[in-house]
Symmetry: C2
């Protein structure tokens, strides 16, 4: 691990990159302890605050964790799927909001990816995952549910559908697409009728998954996508031209 003091970049950025490379290349393995901050500052010939800034950069990416006290220090993190979700969701959410992604674009991406999981989910979904979906549908049908709670349950339903594919890589990738849509979905006011329609679609999907009928799952998702986009369009139109 070497840094170039003549580079234009900050020293802390260079040090962070050097350690990051060491982790990626496998030179540093999971749960291995990094040298103490004092040792690192000597090794890289920089001050301790500079080393600390580098370590905080890595901590922000959950590449390392730190522990105080004797035999404490910085340790290489096992980057878990669970832990990577939140970061993925934060990034995706900001990407959508900062780049003025249209509802249609986000919706299209989300359903395209979800349909990719549906075929696998029809084959492999467990009874447990099916039960989760049923439970969420039931929650959605309860009166007095706020729009936000309805959306949250919707996300949970689709998460279960995706998890049904039994492929953690797919679940991880989809987490961003599905959850990042939630702020956009929250802008929709759901009428009693539209909730009913969505619940009907969800029931159809659950039924099809129970029957392991991938064709029907796919067809229903297509319908649900089209319905969702229509709903958003109506809301947008109503804002422009209130009755």
């Amino acid at each position: 691990m070497k840094i170039d003091p003549k580079k234009p970049a900050d020293l802390s950025a260079q040090i962070a990159q050097a350690i990051r490379d060491a982790i990626i290349s496998g030179e540093l393995i999971v749960d291995e302890r990094l040298p103490s901050e004092a040792e690192l500052s000597e090794q890289f010939q920089v001050s301790r605050p500079t080393v600390r800034e580098a370590l905080k950069r890595l901590a922000a990416q959950s590449l390392i964790r730190t522990q105080r006290g004797a035999s404490g220090g910085a340790f290489v993190n096992r980057l878990s799927f669970e832990g990577a979700y939140s970061q993925q969701i934060t990034t995706s959410t900001l990407l959508l909001s900062m780049n003025a992604v249209s509802f249609d674009t986000a919706c299209e991406a989300r359903f395209a990816l979800e349909r990719a999981c549906a075929a696998l989910s029809a084959q492999r979904r467990t009874a447990d995952q099916l039960a989760t979906m049923r439970a969420e549908v039931h929650r959605q049908s309860q009166p007095g549910l706020t729009d936000e709670a309805f959306c949250a349950s919707d996300v949970a339903f689709h998460r279960a559908l995706v998890d049904g594919a039994g492929n953690p890589v797919l679940s991880y990738q989809l987490a961003g697409a599905v959850e990042a849509m939630q702020p956009l979905m929250n802008m929709i006011t759901f009428t009693a009728r539209s909730r009913e329609a969505i619940i009907a679609f969800h029931n159809q999907i659950a039924d099809a998954l129970e029957d392991r009928d991938s064709t029907k799952v796919d067809a229903t998702l297509v319908e649900l996508e089209s319905y969702t986009r229509q709903l958003a369009q109506d809301v947008a139109q109503q804002r422009r031209n209130p009755a």
Copy 2:
């Protein structure tokens, strides 16, 4: 923006979270300048090094950028799709390597997602994107290409296919899945015959996209997936039982 000095978490982590929340909620908008480090340290009642650690955490997530000099400071970044790619790829790569994801699992996820783009790509691919794909196939057929260069070209080919869908959200999500596979693919030694077979598949895909024949693109991707998995299986078997 407030922090709780009695919380167990590090002050720099709390400050970073407070600023992060302000960005996500829209309280701080793109290109807005944050208060100077001195002002922030006064505002949060902490020292400047602590504020700096917080800012470095945010910089590591590309939420802010810093500029030196008069009228410099920390500015809220526009999180661009391009900029988010690298982080997504780093994370995905580490996830795969640290969690011992099998080649089959990663491969399945990648092709499932890619097929989700294929239908859209058949409708919308531009002449330019098609030309990129043709060029990459041509590069792949050149003799003397290293395995790594072959893989890199393979990635470029599939990136063009995905970009053909004309949906930046899809391209972003797929970047992780496709690029993160590369280290795994690099473990495969490509024989002249296997390269030929892959190139044939690529040509078929390009032809089908030229004809806007989504069914054929999908079918060919299925074949390519099965071929790729077979290839990996053969390599694994040969390692266990060398001839």
